[in-house]
Amino acid sequence: MQKGNTQKKQRMKYSLLNWKESCLFRLFRNSQILIPLLFILCFASFFVPHFMVKDNILNILRQISVLSLISIGSTLVIITGGIDLSVGSVMALVAVYTATAVKAGTSFWIIFPVAILFGMLIGMVNGILIMNFTIPPFIVTLAVMTIGRGLVLLRTGGSNITELGNKAFLFLGRGFLLGIPFPIIILFVFYLFWSIVLNNTRFAREVYAIGNNEEASKVAGIAVRRVILYVYMIAGMMASVGAVIDTSRMNTVTAMYGNGIEFDCVTAVVLGGASLDGGSGRVMNTLYGAALLGIINNLFNLLGVSTYWGQIVKGLILILAVMTNTTLKRRD
């Protein structure tokens, strides 16, 4: 039986024009999310007017760029088998800081690094609480989410910060470079960076190993504590990058900014095929997942359906996506 199988595999490997070995098949196999994504794209461009228009496409891209940036961080967290519910509050804290600093006339070159450090600091708090005090990730990040939201409300008094009015800063979220929205370029840079890191470094292998089996990784000599700390710091960093761009794009920060975005993040990652048990997940697939969510949101807008319907649909999609992922994983 075993022998027959290997022979069959060998034969398949050497036959030309083999569908199962074609790069298209491998693409779909590795990114099953592409199938619904393409399906929805076709459906939308056929049936929804004003969808396949340059302006709308650029709009979607700009909208999903922030979610994608944050989801990259969440992908890493979920690969390790954790979950980060605090991203929304981290974003709000960073956005409030950014907006205040921009209004005070601080230079962008100071704001951006400080914002990133701020996000990493909160991520570090998450990581330390999870690893050094052995509290489950969702409880830690749930608590940090609440505390962060409380601090934002205390700082803003529940009102909005509007009219930042710094042209150079607004370019970050609203500008175009060579006809491409600037957030997309930032996303591309970050995507390139993280996909290179995740495909080539020892750190990445350790992240996957921990997600697959934490105990075994520890025994194998991986510094589990440090790796997980880094992962949560990266999640905080990506959240703050997203927050800075979003602040610039909206030119406003509301006290409830970022509330509920952790839900979209988890959905995007899970749609990308990552298992919440950890050990699997790819940055590129998360981006496809985020794109799918962005397109669904955009379709609801174009069709004039209440965004609350979007909430219902996204909830269903999340549950179905997790169910398929776990059943597929079990079958493997």
């Binding site: 052995t134 609440t146 219902i312 996204k314």
Partner: protein
């Protein structure tokens, strides 16, 4: 591992931490907050925490079974909105309304329970998605407006009337906790809930219907949330789709304060109630001291962390 007969300071502090915290809070607020230590304020605290108390009961069952529930706030709100709508439209008799609520609670619990038990979706994701769906559905239906059905019998009976000097709302809580206590400690179902939270794999080998128990736990949590929704309607007097946001955090905090383990298998009814009271007391005392309400978020988060920290176990 517990060593019998030998005094262990750490485990002593861990076991009785809730009582220490509660005692310290009462002493602190009695000294610094004028009018805190009165019978009237005590009843007030209990009355304020009725909804959290009832919802925590569901959360407790779910947490003991090794899950987590962050959808009960949305479910309770749904129940209150449905009651308000039914009363506003009229033409529905009480038995039919109650039957409809029970059936709906059953269906919602069945949905989340089977997603967790049969679909292998982690409880946190299931309940997060469910909460989002229910909130979205309510907003679609009400358009974000509150539904005012006037001040009916229900409100008068639950919110205004009292029996033996104790408001009826608190009686409802006591009855619910009694039911919960009996279910958890005196029935086979209760023992199964503890067992599957301890180790579901072993339970499966031992012939315990793990999946069925898991679904039943979610059905129970959903039923309890519907009861909380009735109280919510009585308290607010209207059906408000945006009510009870983030209350699940309060519930988790209360349950964990009450010594339940987030990995399942441990938790007690009475301590959960004390956890709820502790949280309510904290907020009440802060109000007495004129602390800005937004601090409540910070305190809530810190309490969750503190409780999880005290009860965290090294593997």
């Amino acid at each position: 591992m517990k060593i019998q007969g030998k005094f262990n300071t750490i485990s002593f502090v861990k076991t009785y931490s809730l009582y220490f915290v509660l005692g310290a809070l009462i002493i602190f607020f009695s000294i610094f907050a004028q009018g805190f230590l009165t019978w009237c304020n005590f009843i007030n605290i209990l009355k304020r925490t009725t909804i959290t108390a009832i919802l925590s009961l569901g959360t407790l069952f779910v947490i003991i079974s090794g899950g987590i529930d962050i959808s009960n706030g949305a479910i309770a709100t749904l129940s209150s909105v449905i009651i308000a709508t039914a009363l506003l439209n009229g033409g529905i008799t009480w038995p039919i309304l109650i039957l409809a609520l029970v059936v709906l609670a059953l269906l919602i619990g069945l949905f989340s329970g089977s997603a967790v038990a049969l679909g292998n979706v982690p409880p946190i994701i299931t309940t997060l998605a469910l909460a989002s769906m229910i909130r979205g559905g309510m907003m679609v239906y009400t358009g974000g407006f509150t539904i005012d059905a006037g001040r009916g019998v229900l409100i008068r009976f639950l919110n205004r009337a009292s029996f033996l000097g104790i408001p009826n709302m608190i009686w409802v809580v006591l009855i619910m906790y009694f039911i919960g206590y009996v279910l958890l400690t005196k029935t086979k179902f209760g023992r199964y809930v503890y067992a599957i939270g301890g180790d579901s794999e072993i339970c499966e080998h031992a012939g315990i219907p793990v999946k069925k128990v898991r679904i039943l736990v979610f059905i129970f949590a959903s039923m309890v949330a519907f009861v909380a929704g009735i109280l919510l309607y009585a308290r607010l007097g209207v059906g408000q789709p945006t009510a009870l946001i983030n209350i699940e955090l309060d519930c988790i905090a209360a349950v964990v304060l009450g010594g339940a383990s987030l990995s399942g298998g441990r938790g007690s009814i009475i301590n959960t109630f004390l956890g709820v009271v502790t949280l309510g007391l904290l907020i009440n005392g802060m109000n007495y001291l004129n602390v800005v309400t937004y601090w409540q978020y910070v305190v809530q988060g810190c309490v969750i962390l503190f409780a999880a920290l005290v009860h965290s176990q090294r593997k």
